[in-house]
């Protein structure tokens, strides 16, 4: 992404949420975006995830300039190239665990191996015995595992995770972190994870800090040390 800016409001109430952010993400990378609450990290993730539009700047994913896509193409792009893991898992409570994982593939319109792939992924996240359970009948940790499987089912270019452990107890949070790292390593999957809790993630490929809408390579503590 190049020179990404995002403004909210107008005139006196205008907020400059993102300021000239330029980041390049490498394939297979586990990128952690950290920052305090209100720093703009979730806004940045929403831009990358095409859930929100930048006020200026470009986002290129797989060489496609996503800021120029229309609504229908954005939806297709999100479906094919991006996987999402949200803080509250955001599973569809009316569907079973298996159906939730199959959903992005069904939206894509390729039903052929949807079920088989979904089952494989659910095995990988350790939920092969919960396939037919309704999504609202499983625990928060399990739901987040299902969300990871759902995020991976279309083999996206990037998986975007917004505070994926924010709603979990520490043990479940650790499990989810390990699982994402495993998926990154095993499947060569690119992860961009937004968190305010840096320590939960341990060693990752790269960390970017967002502060007051600006991005810095590395962690703030390191930066302070360097500055000092």
């Amino acid at each position: 992404m190049y020179n990404l800016n995002k403004y909210y409001g107008k005139g006196d109430t205008e907020v400059h949420a993102l300021r000239d952010i330029s980041i390049t993400v490498n394939k297979g990378e586990f990128l952690l975006i950290v920052g305090s609450s209100g720093s703009g990290k979730s806004t940045l993730l929403n831009m990358i995830g095409l859930l929100d539009k930048p006020s200026s700047g470009k986002i290129l994913i797989d060489g496609i300039e996503t800021t120029k896509l229309n609504d229908s193409k954005i939806s297709s792009f999100r479906n094919k190239k991006l996987g999402f893991i949200f803080q509250f898992s955001n599973l569809l409570p009316d569907l079973t665990v298996l159906e939730n994982v199959m959903l992005p593939r069904q939206i894509l319109g390729t039903n052929d191996s949807a079920k088989q792939d979904a089952i494989e992924l659910l095995k990988l996240v350790g939920l092969e015995d919960q396939l037919q359970k309704r999504a609202n009948k499983i625990s928060g940790g399990q739901a987040q595992r299902v969300a990871i499987a759902r995020g991976l089912v279309n083999h996206p270019t990037i998986v975007l995770a917004d505070e994926p452990t924010g709603n979990l107890d520490s043990i479940s949070a650790q499990n989810i972190v390990q699982l994402m790292k495993l998926m990154c390593k095993k499947l060569g999957q690119t992860f961009i994870v937004v968190t305010h809790d840096r320590h939960q993630f341990g060693d990752v490929d790269r960390v970017i800090t967002i502060k007051d809408g600006r991005s810095f390579e590395g962690e703030e503590s390191q930066r302070l040390e360097i500055t000092a």
Partner: protein
Amino acid sequence: MSIILVLYLQYIKYQTIFIDYVEYRLQLAKRMLFNKKGSLMGAVLAVTVGILVIHVNFVIFQGLFDAIVRDLTDYRFGNLQVTDEDDYIDKSDASLVNWFERIPYVYAATPRLDSSAAINITKFGKKIEETRIPIVGVDPLRDIRASTAHTTVTDGQYVFARNSIVLGSSVARDLGGAQVGDDLKLKIVDRYGQDQIRRFIVTGIANSPGGNGFDYSAVIHIDTLRDMMNRDGFTGSIMVKLNDPSKSTELKNLFLQAFSNDEFKAETLEEVAEQQLAGFRSGIAMINMIGYFGMMSSAFAIVTIQMMLVNGKTREIGVMRAIGAKRKDILIIFLFQGIIIGAIGATVGTAAGLGYTIYAKETKMSFNNSLPLEVTIQWDKVIQTALTSFGLAIVASLYPSYRATKLLPIEAMRTV
């Protein structure tokens, strides 16, 4: 052969694509809807009640109309009524009746003669008089075939002799409670202006549910009436009953053609009773309009319920949009809900409506001992009502579905 195979394979391919396309959307629509049982039941009930109102209206008002038509046919006019354009029919009634009864789809025909009379009876030494009573002269043997007027005689029996008279229940009441066996006097002014008085014995009291029979008349033998009117051999009308009422116009044309040199006037029931029926017809049309407005109210109920469903599923819509569902996918999902509501509502409503119709038909439903409704199941109307409500349910779901597509994923997902 190979072309057929290629076409078949193409058909299978597109069918599979279609099923794939529809499957998850339909499944999602079903799940979302069936997991909100209260909303589903409310919406289905709205459609059901809309249909039921139409059916009930139809059973009552169309049934009433058809009952009046039935009674007018059975008691008074038949399916075709023949009169003379200016005066009485002077042709032999037997020859006309025979002409009609030779036609295969004619069930029976009978002559009738109408007049008015003053009537008096002495009860307990007191003379009670009624004037201007309509008098109907019937041929007892033929009348019981072409008309069911004789079945309205609730006490005693129909006219069988020259001096027997059947009084309408209202007339009997006005005559101080005239009963079978009483004798009374009838005074008629004949064609020469002379009073003709005869003594009769009451043989029956006629009382028809709804009062379309001879409740306000007196019935005597046609030859007696002819004598009293000094119109020997004259007939007022020929009442013709058909096996197949739809052929009344055909028979009318056939008759007028056959007797083109005479001054006959032949009218189908609709023509004879035009004035009586026209008002009723417009009343039915208005009631039907009210029914369809009721159905429109159901549609508004569906809009409200579906808006509630959309509001309740805002977060899920946001999630679906986030993981790649397009606006049209969301539209289709909620339209499917409209289709499901419409289909279930139309089925349940039609079943309930048919149940009510069959009940009304089998029990010969009537209100306050009035005439029993003539209930028929008109399948074209049943299907039309079901399809209209089904279509309305889909139309009603358009706006909520459209609103669902307008939700922005990022904002929708923030909804708790």
